[in-house]
C-alpha cells in the first residue's frame, strides 16, 4: 500500500507540466548529443550544470536524467549507422548493428533497438521500485575480490564474443589491457606509459579511442573500397520482419534481466551488461554464424541490457548517494548545488524528489521511444547521402566531438593515432571489440586485484574464500570450457541429423 502511495506521489510530481517539459527537453538534448560522436552525456551535463542552479531541484534532476538515457538511445543510432560507438556500452551494438545497416536493414536495427530499450527501461523502472533495497544490499556485499572476479568473467566474455581466431582475440584483450594501463597508478602514484604528457596521466579517454578505432578506421576502409552508398545500399523496410521480431523478443528479455542486475554495480555496469548479453546470445543462438554479420539478437540483447543498466545505475545514487558512474557523480553534484544532501535519507526526507525521479524515468523512456521511432526514417535517409559528402561530415563531427571532451586538441590528435591503429587492426583481421573491453575493464581488474591483496595482507586465497567471488570464478571457468566446445544447439542439431540418416 505504501508502494502504491509512493507511485501515485511520484506520478503526481512527474506529470506536472513543468516537469514533463523539462523531461522532454532533456530527452531531446540527450538524443542529439548521443548521436553526435564524442560529446557524451558527461560533457553535456557538465556544461548544463550552471543552468540547474536556477531550476527547482526535481525539474533539474529530471532534465539531467533525460539527457542521460536520451544519450543511450542516440548512441545506438550512430553505432548502427556509421559504426561509431557513443559509449563503451554501445560498442557491442556496432558489431552486428552496423553490419545490419550495410545490408540495408538499418531501419530494423534501429527500431528493434528503440523498442528493446523501451521495454528494458520499463522493466528497469519496475525493478527499481520493487527491488531497490535488495539490489543495494547486493551491491554492498561486493568487495574488491568480487569485483575482480566479475571483471575476469567479463574479460573471458570478451574473448567469447570475438568472431575470428580465439588466439588473436585473447591477444587483443591483452593489448587493450596494456593500453588501459596508461596513466597514474592508483596505489603508488607512479606514471605509466605517459611519455611525460600530462594529458595522459589520467589515462586515455575512451571516446577518442572508440572514435578512432571504429569510426575513422571504417571511413578509411570505405574510401579504399570506393564505397558509393547510394548505389550499393538498398534501404529495406523500416520495421523488422516477423522472423526478426520473433528472434529479438527473447533476446530483449534476457538482455533486460542481465542489464538490470549488472547496472547496480558501480563501475562499468552498463558496459559489462551489454557485452555479457551479446556473449549470451551468441552462445545460445540457433544461428551463431550470423553473429558478426548482422544477427538481430546481437543488437536486441545488448541494447536492452545497456538501457536496463542505465536505469538501475540510479539505484546506488538514489538510495545511498553513491554514484555508480561519471554521470551519476554529476547528478550528485547537481543535487548538492540544489542543497539536497545525497545519501540514505533522500528517500525519507525528500520522497517527492525520489519518487518523482523514478516516475519520470519511465515517462522519459516513453518520450524517447516516441521521439526516436519517427526519426528512424530520417536517419535511414541520411545513409543514402553519397559517401563523398557523408564521410567528411562524419570526420568533422568526430574532430569537434573529440575536442569538446576536454577542450584540448590533443584529443583530436588521439583520434588520428587510433584511426591509424584501427586501420592496421582491420587490415590484419584483429577485432576492436575485445581490445576495447580489455581497455575498459583491465585497469579496474588491476585496481581491484591489488586492493583485494592489500586488504587480505597478501593472501591470494581470498578470491576463493568469499562466496560471491568463488561463484564468479567458477562461472569464468565454465565459460572458458564452453568456449572450447562448439555451439550447443548446433551440436544437438547435428546429433539429431546423424540419428535421422
Amino acid at each position: 500500500m505504501d508502494l502504491f502511495h509512493n507511485l501515485v506521489l511520484g506520478l503526481g510530481v512527474a506529470l506536472t507540466l513543468q516537469n514533463v517539459a523539462y523531461a522532454f527537453v532533456g530527452c531531446m538534448i540527450g538524443t542529439l548529443i548521443g548521436v553526435l560522436p564524442g560529446i557524451g552525456p558527461v560533457a553535456t551535463i557538465a556544461m548544463l550544470l550552471p543552468i540547474t542552479f536556477h531550476l527547482p531541484p526535481t525539474a533539474a534532476l529530471i532534465m539531467l536524467a533525460g539527457i542521460y538515457y536520451g544519450a543511450q538511445y542516440g548512441g545506438s543510432t550512430t553505432s548502427i549507422l556509421v559504426n561509431l560507438p557513443g559509449e563503451a556500452s554501445s560498442v557491442v551494438t556496432c558489431i552486428d548493428g552496423y553490419q545490419m545497416a550495410k545490408r540495408g536493414r538499418a531501419g530494423a536495427a534501429l527500431s528493434i533497438s528503440a523498442i528493446g530499450s523501451f521495454v528494458a527501461g520499463t522493466v528497469g523502472t519496475i525493478v527499481i521500485v520493487l527491488f531497490a533495497g535488495t539490489l543495494t544490499q547486493m551491491a554492498q556485499s561486493f568487495g574488491p575480490a568480487e569485483y575482480c572476479s566479475l571483471m575476469a568473467l567479463g574479460l573471458i566474455a570478451a574473448v567469447v564474443l570475438a568472431n575470428g581466431s580465439i588466439l588473436k582475440a585473447v591477444a587483443m584483450v591483452f593489448l587493450g589491457l596494456l593500453f588501459g594501463l596508461t596513466g597514474t597508478d592508483i596505489n603508488t602514484g607512479a606514471e605509466r606509459f605517459t611519455f611525460g604528457v600530462p594529458q595522459l596521466s589520467d589515462g586515455i579517454d575512451f571516446a577518442p579511442i572508440a572514435m578512432g578505432l571504429f569510426g575513422i578506421a571504417e571511413i578509411v576502409v570505405n574510401f579504399e573500397r570506393r564505397l558509393e552508398r547510394s548505389g550499393v545500399i538498398r534501404v529495406g523496410s523500416l520495421w523488422p520482419t516477423r522472423q526478426e521480431t520473433r528472434r529479438a523478443c527473447p533476446a530483449i528479455v534476457r538482455g533486460t534481466l542481465l542489464g538490470s542486475i549488472l547496472g547496480v554495480l558501480p563501475g562499468g555496469g552498463a558496459t559489462l551488461g551489454a557485452f555479457a548479453a551479446y556473449t549470451l546470445e551468441k552462445k545460445i543462438s540457433r544461428y551463431p554464424d550470423e553473429f558478426g554479420k548482422g544477427a538481430i539478437e546481437g543488437v536486441a540483447g545488448p541494447e536492452s541490457a545497456n538501457n536496463a543498466a542505465a536505469q538501475t545505475s540510479f539505484i546506488p545514487m538514489l538510495t545511498l548517494g553513491i554514484p555508480s558512474n561519471a554521470v551519476m557523480a554529476l547528478m550528485v553534484g547537481a543535487m548538492i548545488i540544489q542543497g539536497v544532501q545525497p545519501g540514505p535519507e533522500v528517500m525519507t526526507k525528500r520522497p517527492d524528489l525520489f519518487w518523482g525521479m523514478i516516475a519520470s524515468m519511465w515517462i522519459g523512456n516513453l518520450m524517447l521511444v516516441i521521439i526516436n521511432l519517427p526519426l528512424i526514417g530520417i536517419w535511414v535517409k541520411l545513409l543514402t547521402v553519397p559517401y563523398r559528402f557523408l564521410a567528411p561530415a562524419i570526420l568533422l563531427f568526430c574532430c569537434v566531438g573529440a575536442y569538446s571532451l576536454q577542450n584540448s586538441t590533443f584529443h583530436v590528435i588521439q583520434i588520428a593515432i587510433f584511426g591509424v591503429l584501427g586501420y592496421v587492426f582491420m587490415r590484419l583481421g584483429c577485432e576492436g571489440a575485445p581490445f576495447l573491453l580489455g581497455l575498459v575493464l583491465g585497469p579496474q581488474l588491476e585496481e581491484y586485484f591489488r586492493r583485494a591483496m592489500l586488504l587480505s595482507r597478501g593472501d591470494p586465497l581470498i578470491f576463493l574464500q568469499r562466496p560471491i567471488s568463488l561463484s564468479l570464478l567458477l562461472a569464468t571457468a565454465a565459460l572458458l570450457i564452453l568456449m572450447t566446445l562448439p555451439n550447443l544447439r548446433k551440436a544437438r542439431q547435428s546429433a539429431f541429423q546423424e540419428e535421422e540418416t
Partner: protein, 149 residues
C-alpha cells in the same frame, strides 16, 4: 605467395612489437612481488604474455597460413590522418572555419571523386550546420574565426 605476408603472421609480429615496446617504456617501474605489486608488475606481466602470444600466433601462421593481407592503398589513410592532424593544429589557432575548410578539402580528395563545386557546397552546408549545432545550440566556447567571432 609469401607465407610471411599473411594477416595472422603480421598480427603476430605486431603483438611482439607491442610487447617489446611495453617492456621498454615500462623499464623503470618497480616491479615488486606478487604479494605487494609495484606499478611495474602488471605491465611486465602483460608484456611477456603479449610476446608469448605473438610468437605462438606467428608460428601457427607459418604452419597454417591464413588469408593474405591485401596491399593497402596509401592515399586514404594518409589523407584522412593528415586531415585530422591539420584540423587539430588549426582549430585553436585559426578558429573552426579555416580548420573545417582544410579538413573537408583533404577528406574529399581522399574520396577519389573530387568535384570542386560539390566540395564547396559541402563546406558551406557543414559550416552552417556546425555553427548551429556547436556554437549556438550547445554553447561551446569555440570561435569560428579566431579573434573575430
Amino acid at each position: 605467395m609469401s607465407r610471411l605476408l599473411t594477416k595472422d603472421f603480421l598480427s603476430g609480429l605486431m603483438f611482439i612489437a607491442f610487447g617489446l615496446a611495453a617492456l621498454w617504456f615500462g623499464r623503470h617501474l618497480p616491479v615488486g612481488t606478487t604479494v605487494r605489486m609495484g606499478p611495474g608488475y602488471v605491465p611486465q606481466l602483460l608484456a611477456y604474455l603479449m610476446l608469448g602470444l605473438g610468437f605462438i600466433i606467428a608460428i601457427v601462421a607459418l604452419v597454417y597460413p591464413g588469408e593474405a593481407v591485401e596491399a593497402p592503398s596509401w592515399k586514404p589513410i594518409t589523407l584522412v590522418t593528415a586531415g585530422i592532424v591539420v584540423f587539430a593544429l588549426l582549430f585553436e589557432v585559426t578558429g573552426m572555419f579555416p580548420a573545417l575548410v582544410a579538413l573537408i578539402l583533404i577528406a574529399s580528395i581522399a574520396s577519389d571523386e573530387f568535384k570542386l563545386g560539390e566540395v564547396i557546397a559541402n563546406i558551406v552546408v557543414l559550416s552552417i550546420l556546425s555553427l548551429t549545432v556547436f556554437k549556438l545550440g550547445l554553447g561551446m566556447n569555440i570561435s569560428m574565426i579566431a579573434g573575430v567571432w
